[in-house]
């Protein structure tokens, strides 16, 4: 692999295991020899460092925002795993989405300047625009979800908002945002349901063919993968396939089910000991599940 990869790990729902997956995926990639940097974007509530056994944060992304350091790489912290470094979220700061747009843009630009084979963005909960923007600068948006209605609902919401954000990114600079607004108002005027984005693209092609093609091409490049966490039964396993199928049909997004992580008590035991489960319980079901997922992500 000779190209830097940016993976964004999100999913909307809090507590679905995003940071846990980010930390342990980072460890597995680092142990496989890749240089990895994980950035925690759960400002004010980040736990990434905890999953890696670090309890004191001497420098965070907040220091970079407040211009205490010149480069984003200056707030990188080495971990005990060779090749793995992290950039922590400030703990006593406003949320990332609350930053001025110039500050957010500065961070977005500097992420791609970080040196490493893999840059993993731990997005934190929610689907605010700034979270979606981070997801859209990545090569791959990885949604971590649970086989639970609320978590799945938030994942679909994240996917829909990701599409809308990407469309807005393209049509706003061309002063065509009114087309999306008009379509949204018109569709809501008829019936109160969320229509397939394909219907908007049909509408856009009618009113501006070239813009329609441009948007369609951009949407086709969105690369979304789903990981199912805390899987207990074979029925749970199939939920991932179903999410992938239904997202294609009803949201219009090509979503790949990358695999699952079985529910495993050793994950909780390792977390209580401030140890990553992939190292402390490397033979556990969860560690093996994450390895399968990592191999599929690398494929």
């Amino acid at each position: 692999m000779d190209k830097k990869h940016i993976w964004a790990i999100g999913g909307g729902k809090g507590g679905s295991g995003k940071s846990l997956v980010a930390a342990n995926l980072g460890i597995q990639l680092a142990e496989a020899g890749y240089k990895v940097i994980i950035l925690d974007f759960d400002w004010g509530g980040g736990n990434l460092h905890t999953y890696l056994g670090l309890s004191t944060l001497r420098k965070t992304m907040g220091d970079y925002v407040l211009n205490r350091v010149a480069n984003l790489s200056d707030v990188c912290i080495d971990t005990a795993v060779p090749n793995l470094r992290i950039i922590c979220a400030p703990q006593d700061f406003y949320p990332f989405s609350g930053l001025f747009s110039q500050q957010k843009t500065k961070i977005l630009k500097h992420i791609s300047a970080l040196k490493g084979d893999f840059i993993i963005l731990d997005l934190g909960p929610g689907s605010a625009y700034s979270i979606l923007d981070l997801s859209l600068i990545s090569n791959c948006s990885i949604l971590v979800t649970l086989p639970e209605p609320s978590a799945i609902e938030n994942s679909y919401l994240f996917m829909k908002r990701l599409i809308h954000r990407r469309i807005a990114q393209i049509i706003r600079p061309q002063n065509k945002i009114h087309l999306l607004t008009r379509w949204t108002i018109e569709r809501n005027g008829n019936e109160n349901r969320d229509k397939h984005i394909g219907e908007f693209l049909s509408y856009l092609r009618q009113v501006d063919s070239s813009l329609g093609k441009q948007v369609e091409a951009a949407l086709a490049k969105i690369n979304v993968k789903v990981i199912l966490n805390q899987v207990r039964t074979q029925e749970d396993v199939q939920v991932g396939n179903a999410i992938s199928y239904l997202a294609r049909k009803f949201i219009g997004l090509d979503v790949e089910y990358t695999g699952f992580i079985p529910f495993d008590n050793s994950v909780n035991i390792a977390a209580r000991k401030l140890r990553p489960f992939t190292i402390y319980y490397s033979e556990s079901k969860a560690a093996k599940g994450l390895s399968s997922v990592a191999r599929r992500l690398l494929a």
Partner: protein
């Protein structure tokens, strides 16, 4: 990115146009499972009416593609307009191993490293919280100084503007 209504039979089942009967059957099972009543995956996604519409399309697509004659007729008639269906990832190898996840073959190739994270000392939590409190107070003071400076500059700006206006209109 097509509307559900515009999808052809292959796209409805997420199979390649060259898929054999076994692949079509597996895809049909997968599609049906996704829309099974009570499935967690379609909770709140779309209305019952839309789900039912897709169920009907799945049944129609399956029965047409499993009938060789009907499939040929259908394909000859519409294939020129089709795009390549999306690739489906097969997680069946992991699925079969849900109960046997102890298999070592699933581990990524690892490099040995001397500094084992399990031996890493945990930093003193008290020190950490003290640091956080100090940093918080420091940042609050810095924020107040910033606000006072901005206010001062604003006042100076307003006075300067007034003086400038007065110079322009001395009476």
């Amino acid at each position: 990115m097509k509307k559900t209504d515009d999808l052809n039979d292959y796209e409805i089942l997420d199979v390649d146009a060259k898929a054999d009967a076994a692949e079509i059957h597996m895809a049909y099972i997968r599609a049906r499972q996704a829309l099974e009543p009570g499935s967690l995956a379609h909770y709140s996604l779309v209305s019952e009416e839309e789900k039912e519409k897709l169920r009907v399309k799945i049944e129609m697509a399956y029965h047409r593609l499993m009938d060789q004659k009907k499939r040929e007729e259908y394909s000859n008639r519409y294939s020129k307009d089709w795009e390549t269906p999306n690739k489906i990832t097969d997680v069946s190898s992991q699925t079969q191993n849900l109960e046997k996840m102890g298999d070592k073959s699933s581990i990524l190739p690892k490099k040995k490293h001397g500094n084992d994270i399990t031996e890493q000392p945990i930093a003193d939590l008290n020190t950490a919280s003290e640091l956080t409190v100090k940093e918080t107070i420091g940042r609050k003071i810095a924020s107040k100084i910033e606000k006072i400076t901005l206010l001062f500059l604003l006042v100076i700006g307003v006075i300067g503007l007034l003086l400038f206006i007065r110079t322009l209109f001395p009476q």
